[in-house]
Symmetry: C2
Subunit: 318 residues, 2 copies
């Protein structure tokens, strides 16, 4: 059986899985990225995890390659550059060091771009030539496909839509010390910040007036919206408005036929999606109205990133 | 001699020229677009103009095709859709109707996208795989090249960067009845509007306090800046700031290696370009700093659009 290894290096967890040619993740495991201050120890752990997965399969298999998704990774240079949420600073030659341990065809890419490739090969974007994937997690990640190809950029750092500024330089700070970046508004973290903003702006009673920021979780905001909490409702509306405007802006860039949403914020369901649809259509230029869909990712939640990383390998086999 | 016909349909002028395989425009002529309320009369005039150019050449030549650039034109459908600055409204089947008159291989595209193709084939973007052309005229037009290909979008309307909103929906109106569109700030018209805005905001003495908006011209603003007029200087700085931020945003999208600027506003030279460079580098994410150039178009000013239209044909011959 032919399988590809998919490795997703995240700020919190690193996930490793075995993925077949149809995008099924047969098995996977994960460990905490932050437990490894030392890069070499981290890479040894990855190597050990792959061996463990292979042994567990208990049947003959052929590994066709190893794909890696990581924040701030460049497909052109094979490095991770100054990732805000990883411990290893500067330019990390991750591909070169992994190749010393794993003798397989290997490819690395920005995690959100890899997710877009996974959506195209295995998910709901199959057959589409123009679409954009948006991951709404702790931050906002994105992968852009146009003319049937992933847009990688001149040296592999295209698709950083979480850092697009729509506030004329006068907005919230992001983790990268950038003012007004989209992810400061539209992400799980952005929603929490908007709860604070709405409590600062309005006088409504709200359960959140009794909860500290550090104790605030996304699911609590959804629950509060369900109970009619006015601050939660205002926060969802504001988040949806900014995301709707952003997606309308992105449409004027590459004119995708669809956006695919994934990540924690999407779990808030109708509270975010219904106003989003409305604001999006409202903000679209006439020439685009009614032509662009907002869809959910077709990949299983827990293994989306692994499938995306494996897609880097399977794309080359097709 | 092999030549391509390049036709640029603009809001004010329609230009028609003969262009060789190296992008040299051997001869061209133009007429006023607005003199033709009737589409058929307009297309007959185009046909007659091509015949006129051929006769003037006085030597044997072979026409390899006819390329057309027009605002709001779609390469996918061959139509012009609701162009704000053309008289013919709705969906205009321009390609079909031209083919009835001209028996040549024919291609149509958004004028700004055609200009990008011209830059890639004949101008300063030769050999580049990732760049963006920005035309700063009455409005702001753009053409995006990534992975060595023009980004056309799902049905041919990609690259409308003049309509990207960076004001969270609270900005100036554009001609398309859109709020906050970039071209309302960064264009020849946008600069004039910014003169008004600066006079509304500040109390500085300025020559523009004695000039009506309708009598205001771009070259006057450049001249005033040269004479130290504080309102003109503030207006250029503000325009450059918004353009710098916009180009930084666009970099986070496709990570081009260069932007190519063209159009009337560029004639203001250092007054716009020097602050632009500064704001642009300042707004770029660290991962992009020092990697993206702002360059001038390498095509001759008067025939840029004709060369771009002809490039639609020459691209297919290579």
């Amino acid at each position: 059986m032919n399988l590809a290894v998919g490795i997703d290096i995240g700020g919190t967890k690193t996930k490793i899985g075995l993925v077949d040619a149809s995008g099924n993740c047969l098995d996977y495991l994960f460990f905490r990225t932050r437990d490894y201050d030392d890069l070499d120890a981290f890479l040894d752990k990855i190597k050990g995890s792959i061996d463990e997965l292979i042994i567990k399969q208990k049947k003959p298999l052929h590994l066709v390659g190893c794909g890696v998704g990581a924040p701030n990774a460049s497909s052109r240079t094979g490095t991770i550059e100054n990732a805000a949420n990883l411990k290893w600073k500067g330019s990390v030659p991750i591909l070169e060091k992994l190749k010393q341990r794993i003798d397989l065809p290997m490819r690395i890419m920005n995690d959100a771009s890899a997710a877009a490739l996974g959506e195209m090969l295995f998910g709901n974007a199959q057959g589409m030539t123009d679409f954009i994937s948006i991951t709404l997690g702790t931050g906002l990640g994105s992968g852009i496909v146009a003319n049937g190809q992933l847009i990688e950029g001149f040296d592999g750092f295209a698709g950083e839509l979480g850092h697009i500024d729509m506030t004329l330089g006068d907005g919230r700070m992001t983790g990268l010390n950038v003012k007004g970046g989209l992810e400061a508004y539209v992400s799980a973290t952005g929603l929490k910040r908007t709860i604070l903003y709405m409590m600062s702006k309005y006088l409504d009673e709200s359960r959140f007036r009794g909860i500290a920021y550090n104790d605030l979780h996304g699911e609590d905001i959804t629950k509060a919206a369900e109970e009619g909490d006015p601050i939660a409702l205002k926060a969802f509306d504001y988040t949806a408005k900014i995301l709707g405007l952003a997606l309308a802006n992105f449409t004027a860039f590459t004119q995708p036929q669809a956006f695919f949403l994934t990540g924690g914020l999407v779990n808030s369901g109708k509270w975010i999606l219904e106003p989003l649809e409305r604001y999006f259509e409202d903000c679209l230029l006439d020439v685009y109205k009614g032509k662009v869909q907002i869809l959910m990712s077709g990949l299983p939640d827990k293994t989306t990133a692994i499938c995306g990383a494996a897609a880097l390998i399977w794309e080359k086999q097709r």
